[in-house]
Amino acid sequence: MSPVSSPSRRRRTSLVALALGSSIALAACGGGGFEENGSDEPASSGDGPAKLQVLIGSSGDAETQAVQDAADAWAEESGNEVEVVVANDLAQQLSQGFAGGNPPDLFYVDAGVFGDYAEAGNLYPYMDQLADADDFYPNLVDSFTLDGEAYCAPKDFSTLALEINTAAWKKAGLTDADIPTTWDELQAVAKKLTTPDQAGLALSIGRDRVGAFLVQNGGFWVDAESGEATATEPSNAEALEYVQSMLDGGEAVLAPDVDAGWGGEAFGTQKAAMTIEGNWIRGAMENDYPDVEYTVAELPEGPAGKGTLLFTQCWGIAADSENQAAAVDFVEAMTTPEQQLTNADAFGVMPSREAAQADYVEQFPEDAPFIAGGDYGQGPVNLPGLGPVVADLDSQLEQLRTADVEDILESFQKNAEAELQ
């Protein structure tokens, strides 16, 4: 799944990573050497079959298996070899590869770190070599564009939508006609849903949730095209103040306030009747809270229209890879509409190609609100060098209920400008 959405999620991910890490280390001790000795073919060259190394940050066994199967099929058909490695710390393992001059040929790149990697010259831009490259959602391609150049193909994406607890909804006397489509309606239903044991709406902390309200008000933290910070635009302050008014009124809470690591946990434990999360919440609800019934709706429109946030990763090809032609071919195979629908079925991600949208909605009608966001969603802040700045923003947004909105935006603006100049 795409984003690192909350401390507890991150914690859980690192646990899994650690567990995986140790088992991989053991496996590597056992098997690694034999393969190298066994094959006498040249490692890689222009004419012989290429041996691709693919490093993925997997969300679990389902994703690993799906990628492995697709890679095997491609290897079979193209006569190349592929080795899929699951990273236990993707950033760290990639850094080692980049510094050592021998990075994996292909790897996942999150939109949030794309800018840094591209700026450092670690990525090979290949979008112009892909067939049907203009079939990808333009908003996703924008998330992997730096200085006007599109670098890599989005492998899939997630968006935010509004999840509603069906039982609480009925109990509050609300019907399908009441599903909020404006900010006022959202606040009104949140108020109606609020009871002493249940908040109306729970939000995970950080820019990856409240940012959606900025987009709905026509603003955002930065303007990726011009490469400038735009946080101090009045529309942003209005959006944050709107969220703040809901937090202040008690109809909305931040997840930690109800002792939840993220919105999905607050929603699953029924401490909140609604939450704003991405399609990754499906897996969590199915595994951890199978008894909670819920529906999903598109986020309400703000004063400036529809808006949500996109989270996506692309297939990065290393600038130092010796097998770039084969790697592009591999990406081609991994991003066909058919393959993307297979992946959607296997581990719940949404296809990044518009050609697959109709089929996807047919297959998963209840996910229509999520995929609709592909048309109007906004990708994450992806300008290079802003990592610590957005981390600081997240840290300040923890106190959104009581903080001075203008202060938060101004300090972000100041820090971002210092970094971007």
């Binding site: 401390p7 690192s14 646990l15 710390d89 850094s95 770190v113 450092a120 610590p388 600081d392 210092a418």
Partner: protein, 367 residues
């Protein structure tokens, strides 16, 4: 004579041969990487290819200026926040773990105690368990509805949401004593500051979240240091203690005037190791909090990691590591100075003085 020298030469050669494997390993895995990191801290290397390649820009002390200078902005305030957190962390962990370890060692050293082996193992156990595993257990213990809060609840205390609570303990303490109100901090403290943080931020004390990590670390490290104290205690001859008792010393007198002075070298070792270890705290932060909430568990070691691996700011990250090294070096040296053996120094000086006096005495004078 010449024969003697050639034998010595052979010895030297043999000596170097014997230590060479260690020298090579140390050089390759310690000296060279440290030198490389030092070089990186003076460059704008972005993590791609070798930091010694031709295109890498030498930026002088810019990275260091970024950390402490006016132009640092966010980087400086991040770094200073991490130093502040780590300072309060050291301030609490080192004395607590030393006192706790000494207490455990004294208990185990009682001659009347049965099943010493069992207790020794039990106390030492946390030190040998993986810090990651223990961190995970603490995450569950200290969650908002976890065991700790349930127990506090049972005695009528409404526990905090530990790992989500970024309030500083000193802030809360001052609030409780009526010195100030955390909701409306005194403007004398918030209005001005130094090095990118206001005075109010500097004096926050460890946050509630950081104090959980403090508890964890005190508990896990005390076992190791207890073993060191125990070894030293067992070196102390029973006769010395008995002699002191015969001279009329009470239990406290024996401890204060016989046991403690005897433990001075161990005390230096324990506090030095404690100081170095606590300034480098990383794994607990990495596993449990990633620097949050509100950056209140950010430490220089974790910040350096995050700047390098998450943000590709390798030069600044390396500079942080070296500033941290300087801090540890300075504090350890100061500690050695504090723990120096004043008696031994005085004896040495006295000896020197007598020698001088002898030399100056007129020839043929009585010695």
């Amino acid at each position: 004579m010449s024969r003697d020298r050639s034998i010595r030469r052979g010895q030297a050669l043999a000596g170097w041969t014997f230590v060479s494997p260690t020298l090579v390993v140390l050089g390759l895995f310690l000296a060279v990487p440290v030198a490389m990191a030092l070089w990186v801290s003076f460059t704008d290397w972005n993590g791609r290819g070798s930091p010694f390649a031709s295109g890498i820009g030498f930026v002088g002390a810019d990275n260091y200026r970024e950390l402490v200078g006016e132009q640092g902005g966010l980087t400086r305030s991040d770094f200073m926040t991490s130093l502040r957190n780590n300072f309060f962390y050291v301030l609490l962990v080192v004395p607590l773990q030393t006192a706790f370890a000494l207490f455990l060692a004294l208990v185990l050293n009682q001659r009347l105690l049965k099943a010493v082996g069992f207790f020794r193992t039990a106390f030492y156990f946390p030190s040998v368990v993986s810090s990651v595993a223990i961190s995970l257990v603490f995450l569950f213990l200290f969650s908002g509805t976890g065991v700790v809060n349930s127990m506090l609840d049972a005695i009528g205390i409404d526990g905090p949401t530990w790992f989500n609570d970024s309030r500083g303990l000193f802030h809360l303490l001052g609030d409780g004593l009526g010195l100030w109100s955390t909701a409306d901090p005194p403007s004398a403290l918030t209005g001005s500051g130094v090095l990118g943080l206001t005075w109010w931020q500097w004096i926050s004390g460890p946050s509630v979240a950081l104090s959980v990590i403090i508890m964890l670390v005190v508990w896990t490290t005390a076992g190791t240091f207890m073993l060191m104290f125990l070894a030293a205690l067992q070196d102390l001859p029973v006769e010395v203690e008995e002699a002191a008792r015969i001279d009329g010393a009470g239990a406290w007198g024996v401890f204060r005037n016989v046991t403690l002075p005897h433990l001075r070298p161990t005390m230096l070792l324990v506090t030095t190791l404690g100081l170095i270890g606590t300034w480098q705290v990383f794994d607990q932060v990495y596993v449990m909090t990633q620097g949050g909430p509100g950056k209140s568990t950010l430490t220089p070691a974790y910040l350096s990691y995050s700047y390098a691996f998450d943000n590709q700011k390798w030069g600044i990250a390396a500079a942080m590591a070296f500033v941290l090294f300087l801090i540890i070096f300075a504090m350890t040296s100061f500690q050695r100075f504090l723990f120096r053996d004043r008696d031994a120094i005085a004896t040495k000086r006295a000896e020197k003085r007598t020698k001088k006096a002898h030399a100056n005495a007129p020839a043929g004078g009585a010695s």
